[in-house]
């Protein structure tokens, strides 16, 4: 694959509430010497909200992004946000498998799309395009002694089977990245459980219950941190952790990092370049002493 044909689709939250995710991706890409290119003039994927209101509009929004990517010569669109990934890959699948629909949307939207863009999840990209070897080679500060719970959430793996890059019920791609960084992973049954997504805003009590279950299980397994690749998961597990912990009697704070933040630490990048200042639950003191002192 031509490296110039790879670009990132950041999505709305990576520009605001989860800008630390984007920052750590940039940093990690530069270490891995992968050129950081963004698709130009992208628009919102619509998330679950547009789908709840107008399904046709939802498809139009993703079609526009795919058509733009194609026009810009992008063949691999790497998507870090699980929700954006789910919409875009779903649209790619739907349009590629339904010629009539593709024709109809093309003419309706006035944007020709030929189906030449492949949407890729960022975990898929790290494991299957960049490769674990390249990741291992760049580890300067192995995360030995750290135990991590990898939390994938719902939408990273629940794409149409033909598009899946990992198993849906018990994925391992993120675990394999974490292992390549020198840290240990745990077997747990909450890998792909739901964090509540937008219920976090609308019916907080439901989301808190779901988040509570995930945090409780992780804490009982004695992990040092939870790592995620979805901005929604990070926000939900991190932001209200104080009150959730009290409610579900979880004694220790559990830092929730993005996978790229962990990668960056192992690559010897400074915490500032990885946006750690934006995580609400900070890493434990022992951990901090090890990784943050040099910077």
């Amino acid at each position: 694959m031509n490296i110039d044909e790879i670009a990132i689709y950041p999505g709305c939250s990576l520009e605001t509430s989860s800008s630390h995710y984007l920052q750590s991706i940039r940093t990690v890409f530069s270490v891995l010497q992968i050129p950081f290119r963004e698709i130009v003039d992208w628009n919102c994927c619509g998330a679950t909200s547009v789908k709840s209101i107008d399904q046709h509009l939802n498809l139009l929004l993703s079609h526009k992004n795919l058509a733009l990517a194609e026009k810009q010569g992008i063949r691999e669109l790497v998507v870090p946000c699980a929700s954006c990934y789910f919409r875009l890959t779903g649209a790619e699948y739907e349009l590629n498998n339904n010629e009539k629909l593709l024709e109809q949307i093309n003419s309706e939207s006035d944007l020709p799309y030929r189906g030449e863009v492949r949407v890729r999840n960022i975990l898929d990209f790290f494991v299957n395009v960049a490769g674990l070897e390249l990741i291992k080679k760049n580890v300067k500060n192995p995360l030995n002694g750290l135990t991590v719970a990898c939390y994938y959430g719902c939408l990273n793996t629940r794409v149409p089977l033909e598009k899946a890059f990992d198993t849906r019920e018990y994925p391992m791609s993120m675990d394999n990245i974490v292992k390549a960084l020198g840290a240990g992973v745990v077997n747990w049954s909450y890998k792909t459980d739901c964090c509540g997504a937008s219920l976090f805003v609308t019916v907080g009590s439901i989301a808190e219950k779901l988040v509570g279950k995930v945090l409780k299980d992780a804490s009982l397994r004695g992990v040092d941190c939870i790592t995620v690749s979805c901005p929604m998961c990070q926000t939900n597990l991190d932001t209200k952790q104080g009150s959730v912990r009290k409610k579900y009697s979880i004694d220790h704070p559990l830092p929730v990092t993005f996978i790229t933040q962990l990668m960056g630490l192992a690559f010897g990048c400074s915490p500032g370049d990885l946006g750690f200042g934006k995580n609400f639950v900070s890493l434990g003191t022992e951990f901090k002493a090890r990784f943050f002192s040099s910077s």
Binding site: W42, I53, I206, G277
Partner: protein, 174 residues
């Protein structure tokens, strides 16, 4: 055939594959908050009794996590059906049973249409105003603002977005 008839036919085609194993309901993380189980929604729709499901909380509570769809032995897109039920209900002039959740999705969608990208801060404020609960999630706002995770200023309009979206506006305002 009208839009509604077409929609009903498509719904029948998909839901009639269901043999009521109940895996969707047993795997649903928010089932205890629902007023009718997901597999019963599918059953009623397959019997042509859509009218019975248009006025339920379940489609609104659904977090669209797809745990059910992944478990379904017949590959039925259950969250997709929930979404179509929500659309059908509104097309039939039925007030959403969970207006609080509907208002969020509506606020979000309208914001996307404004400039092609969402302005999270505005969505939160506008949503609270529409609910008439100005202090909902009030503890979060300042925390997020302090960490620079919410921005007062909206993002720039995506180039040409408003012009592009104009073509479809009639449909989305329904």
């Amino acid at each position: 055939m009208t839009e509604l008839q077409k929609m009903k036919r498509e719904l029948y085609r998909e839901t009639s594959l269901c043999y009521q194993c109940g895996k969707c309901s047993s795997g649903c993380p928010v089932v205890e908050e629902m007023d009718i189980f997901p597999h019963l929604i599918i059953h009623l729709v397959s019997l042509g009794m859509e009218d019975q499901v248009l006025n339920n909380e379940t489609p609104w509570i659904c977090a669209s996590c797809y745990a059910c769809a992944v478990k379904c032995p017949n590959d039925i897109d259950i969250p997709g059906i929930m979404n179509r039920i929500k659309e059908m209900a509104r097309e039939n002039g039925i007030k959403p049973k969970r207006n609080d959740i509907y208002k969020f999705h509506k606020t979000f969608t309208e914001d996307v249409l404004r400039r092609g990208k969402v302005h999270e801060f505005r969505i939160m404020m506008e949503y609270n105003m529409r609910l008439g609960k100005p202090f909902k999630n009030a503890m979060l706002g300042p925390k997020m603002l302090l960490k620079n995770k919410l921005h007062f200023r909206p993002p720039k309009e995506v180039k040409g977005f408003r012009k592009w979206i104009k073509k479809f506006n009639q449909k989305t305002e329904k």
